[in-house]
């Protein structure tokens, strides 16, 4: 079996949550695997990341240099191509950095590429069977990947359950000298933090969240009225922001806000994983969607197949009636 490497991202000296998930995915490929973590960066942050990873990985490869002070996928790809042996299997998280890095890395390693793996059903000779999703999560597929010349896989965050209480005390190996000078046609300039919006959706216990099913900007009032009677805020999924119907600060998801409400009413939201990644704290999720196949119904607690444009106003009226009765 080829060696398995896991490229680990980190922030402020702490490995990303996916670090342990990648180790779990590696063991799904080969139960006997002792995957090697690879980390790039510089200074004390890099040292503390490597130190933290020793619990989960028996070996941690450290690549240090000023060029790695910001995550530039092009520089990091060039570094990885220099240190990772041909025929290896390389794992990375399927998030904004993995999407930047992995496709090109697979080309430069002459390895097969499987993006966004949700499950790994094992190795049969040189063929790895992987579970994916297509059509925005409406349907799943198995793919067979030929790994005789290596493979790069990106792993869906949250899909692999990490081993608890890992305590390996692994070795840190400094690979920086093997990398040498690197040039890149893409240069980091700065990071611009998200603007605060008019409403802070992260502070609300109840969210009325709308997706593509709201159909047009003028219909947002329907959701706002329900939110008003519930004392809730209106949040949304990506298509609503793309259409410029609500501000970016209202968007729930990996590229928007992470929310922890008690109750989440998903109205006309299909439930793409990037959206679900922004819902934390195990809220009570109600899904209202015309499409009975919408993936949101797999994660919701209660589902209703209906047109939100008709259902929500009637719900709002009922809540108003209820409020009227209880007020007496």
């Amino acid at each position: 079996m080829a060696r398995i490497f896991a490229f680990i991202t980190h922030r402020s000296g702490v490995p990303d949550d996916t670090a342990a998930e990648l180790a779990a995915a590696a063991r799904k490929i080969d139960p006997a695997a002792s995957p090697i973590a690879v980390v790039t960066g510089q200074g004390p942050d890099l040292e503390s990341v490597c130190s933290a990873l020793r619990a989960t990985y028996a070996e941690v490869w450290k690549i240090s240099g000023y060029v790695f002070s910001h995550s530039n996928a092009e520089s990091i790809r060039k570094a990885l191509v220099k240190v990772i042996p041909a025929g290896s299997v390389v794992l990375a998280a399927h998030e904004h950095f993995g999407i930047d890095l992995a496709p090109g890395l697979s080309v430069k390693l002459s390895a097969a590429y499987v993006p966004d793996a949700l499950g790994i059903e094992g190795l049969d000779g040189n063929h790895l069977k992987v579970v994916r999703q297509e059509f925005g999560g409406q349907i799943s597929s198995h793919v067979r990947c030929e790994i005789s010349s290596g493979a790069v896989l990106t792993i869906r965050p949250g899909a692999f359950k990490p081993q608890e209480n890992a305590s390996l005390a692994g070795n840190v190996v400094d690979k920086s000298a093997e990398v040498g000078a690197l040039t890149a046609g893409r240069r980091y300039l700065q990071t611009i933090l998200a603007e605060a919006g008019d409403v802070d959706i992260t502070k609300h216990a109840v969210l009325v969240s709308i997706g593509r099913g709201i159909q047009e900007k003028d219909n947002i009032g329907i959701a706002q009225e329900l939110a008003d009677v519930l004392g809730a805020a209106v949040s949304c999924s990506r298509p609503v922001v793309d259409a410029k119907w609500l501000e970016k600060s209202r968007q729930v998801g990996s590229s928007g806000k992470t929310v922890k409400p008690k109750v989440y009413l998903a109205c006309g939201i299909s439930g793409a994983f990037q959206h679900l990644a922004g819902i934390k704290g195990n809220p009570f999720i109600v899904a209202i969607n015309k499409n009975a196949k919408a993936p949101i119904f797999q994660v919701a607690d209660v589902g209703i197949v209906d047109d939100l444009l008709e259902f929500v106003p009637e719900l709002t009226n009922k809540v108003r009636e209820l409020r009227g009765i209880t007020a007496k």
Binding site: A102, S255, G256, V263
Partner: protein, 263 residues
């Protein structure tokens, strides 16, 4: 600026329920509504806006078959100068790597300063742009949500990263960018516009014209192959309320009250 946009025609997931066919080996493809892959449409709009600012020409290319001409005409109706159909029986069954290899051969026939793709298509791979860039040894950035043309054959671009934050970078041209939805507001295309380009010839390129060996693309070269589709059994699944709308609302209100949704 010469801009190439690589686009695809896909089943429109906002218009279709995707289900397994009766044999269970494919999705049910009868009666699917197809359209241009939504992120690709944003990429075309972005290309048109760049050309409106700095001059140049927009070519939209797709790897596919005759049916895919419809999206090329749609994007020409938006304002693209040319549509190109890259088609050959030898291309069938290509994996992402194969498609990138075909596009690389096509890119090398032209003189493009900038190549745009949508961030991902229906299979959610987000892979072809990054592969194409690596094959060409061009710089690459994914999830791009703004593009500014600078002097001296450079771009200033923004990428969408976590939490609504943006990562700003400078890129040397030529480069490949994968464009995120929401980068702009794609213009409306009416039937009149599509009729106006209905008879414009669409050049086609096959393996021969592109100098591609059949063994390097298509099913034979694919290291990654889809075996089947299946209906996912993820999570516990929702308790579905299947009553009348009134009954569903009654039940939902009971549940909301119990869960703290009705303060």
């Amino acid at each position: 600026m010469e801009i190439l946009v690589c686009a695809r025609r896909v089943p429109d997931t906002s218009e279709n329920e995707i289900t397994l066919n009766s044999a269970g080996n494919d999705i049910e493809r009868d009666e699917l509504v197809y359209s241009i892959n939504e992120p690709d449409n944003y990429a075309v709009e972005e290309a048109l806006q760049i050309v409106a600012r700095v001059g140049g020409k927009v070519t939209v290319a797709t790897v596919g078959g005759e049916d895919d001409e419809e999206i090329l005409r749609r994007e020409m109706a938006m304002g693209a100068n040319q549509g190109v159909l890259i088609t050959d029986a030898a291309f069938e069954g290509s994996d992402g790597r194969g498609i990138a290899a075909i596009l690389k051969a096509f890119v090398q026939k032209g003189n493009y300063d900038l190549i745009l793709t949508g961030v991902q298509a229906e299979a959610g791979g987000a892979q072809v742009g990054g592969m194409l860039a690596a094959m060409l040894d061009y710089p690459f950035a994914s999830l791009v949500n703004s593009i500014e043309v600078l002097d001296g054959r450079k771009l200033k671009i923004s990428r969408e990263i976590e939490g609504g934050n943006k990562e700003i970078s400078e890129m040397d041209l030529p480069c490949v960018l994968s464009v995120q939805t929401g980068i702009n507001e794609p213009r409306y295309v009416g039937m009149k516009g599509i009729r106006a380009v209905a008879s414009v010839p669409i050049p086609t390129y096959g393996a021969g014209e592109l100098g591609l060996e059949a063994s390097t693309v298509g099913a034979a070269a694919a290291k990654v192959k889809r075996v089947d589709y299946f209906v996912p059994a993820l999570g516990k699944g929702a308790e579905m309320l299947n009553g009348s709308r009134e009954e569903n609302i009654e039940k939902l209100l009971e549940l909301l009250a119990a869960k703290g949704g009705l303060k």
